[in-house]
């Protein structure tokens, strides 16, 4: 709480507060740990064909660390810190709407306006700022999907719906601007 002009007080977050920093560090620690539990469900180990026979398991187990599940295997043996980020990005790409998925879908749509690719034109001016979730829900509604149906699509399919929605919105705006001239 800090006193501001006129004697009133306001809440100002103190991001340098050690307790806040400590809570934040713990939050990231738990998030990072839980992330692999979630992502492991989307990973299939191809090589080695039977991960249970990987000789490196014995080394980890000799330290008193059981390696019983594929999540353990990924955590202790297969994935490095760098791999983890790439794997997370790939699985998100395959599972849900992503910026990369939208860009890839737009590229496949090959839309041109006035002999130039659509992405050369700026987005319609708007005061609206919204999350990708909001845009996805709007896109799903526009094309007649229930939210459940939309979520059952693959990540690239969901991204394609959003890409089409955004491209169509931009085309409509470009057309309306053209009519004004």
């Amino acid at each position: 709480m800090v006193q501001v002009f006129g004697g009133s007080v306001e809440h100002v977050p103190d991001t340098d507060n050690p307790a806040y920093q400590s809570d934040l560090a713990l939050y990231y620690l738990n998030m990072a740990d839980s992330e692999l539990d979630v992502l492991a469900g989307g990973i299939t180990v191809l090589e080695p064909a039977r991960w249970e026979n990987d000789p490196r398991i014995e080394e980890i187990q000799s330290l008193g660390i059981p390696v019983k599940t594929i999540t353990d295997y990924l955590r202790y043996i297969a994935l490095t810190n760098e791999d983890m980020q790439a794997v997370a990005e790939k699985i998100l790409y395959m599972s849900t709407v992503t910026r990369q998925g939208i860009e890839d879908a737009e590229a496949r749509l090959k839309i041109e306006w006035g002999n130039a690719p659509l992405d050369r034109y700026r987005d319609p001016p708007s005061q609206l700022k919204a999350s990708l979730l909001f845009t996805s829900r709007e896109a799903a509604r526009e094309y007649g999907y229930t939210w459940q149906q939309f979520c059952e699509l693959t990540g690239p399919e969901q991204s394609a719906v959003v890409a089409q929605y955004q491209c169509s919105s931009k085309i409509q705006w470009l057309q309306s601007e053209q009519h004004k001239k």
């Binding site: 713990l26 740990d33 330290l63 660390i65």
Partner: protein
């Protein structure tokens, strides 16, 4: 324990009984998981081993057994992969006389450090903390560019 040289990728330390060890970062994923399993309820980077011990001692006996196993696993993992030194000649025979026959290189390193090198829990905790700091890029965070 004395820190002889501190860099961003390795730290050289001298234990109380004179052994010089080079420490390096280990994989973050296992350490993260073991810390979460330990039930670390706050950032322990600025806590003394006694403070962490106090936090652990407030748990039930069953929890404490689990905690002890996990703490041992964390110690073994950080020593097994975070210390660049192998047991000297004769150390494995000495461990065998104590009934200890670790069968892999990392386990041999961890057991050697635990039973024959480190003076006690506090020194072990300090060495593990050095490796965890390297693992999470915390060495030299306060503008410390490394010291000789």
């Amino acid at each position: 324990m004395r820190i002889l040289k501190k860099g961003s990728s390795e730290v050289r330390v001298q234990t109380e009984n004179g052994v010089v060890l080079t420490c390096q970062a280990v994989k973050q994923l296992p350490v993260q998981h073991l810390l979460v399993k330990l039930g670390v309820t706050e950032d322990i980077s600025d806590k003394t081993p006694e403070q962490v011990q106090e936090q652990i001692s407030q748990r039930s006996v069953a929890d404490q057994v689990d905690t002890a196993k996990t703490a041992m696993a964390l110690f073994n993992y950080t020593m097994g992969y975070g210390v660049r030194a192998d047991p000297p000649d004769g150390a494995l025979d000495e461990l065998k006389e104590l009934g200890l026959s670790p069968n892999t290189k990392p386990a041999q390193r961890a057991t050697w450090l635990n039973y024959l090198v480190l003076a006690g829990g506090q020194e072990a905790g300090t060495l593990a903390a050095v490796i965890m700091a390297l693992t999470f890029n915390r060495v030299g965070q306060d503008g410390d560019k490394g010291t000789e």
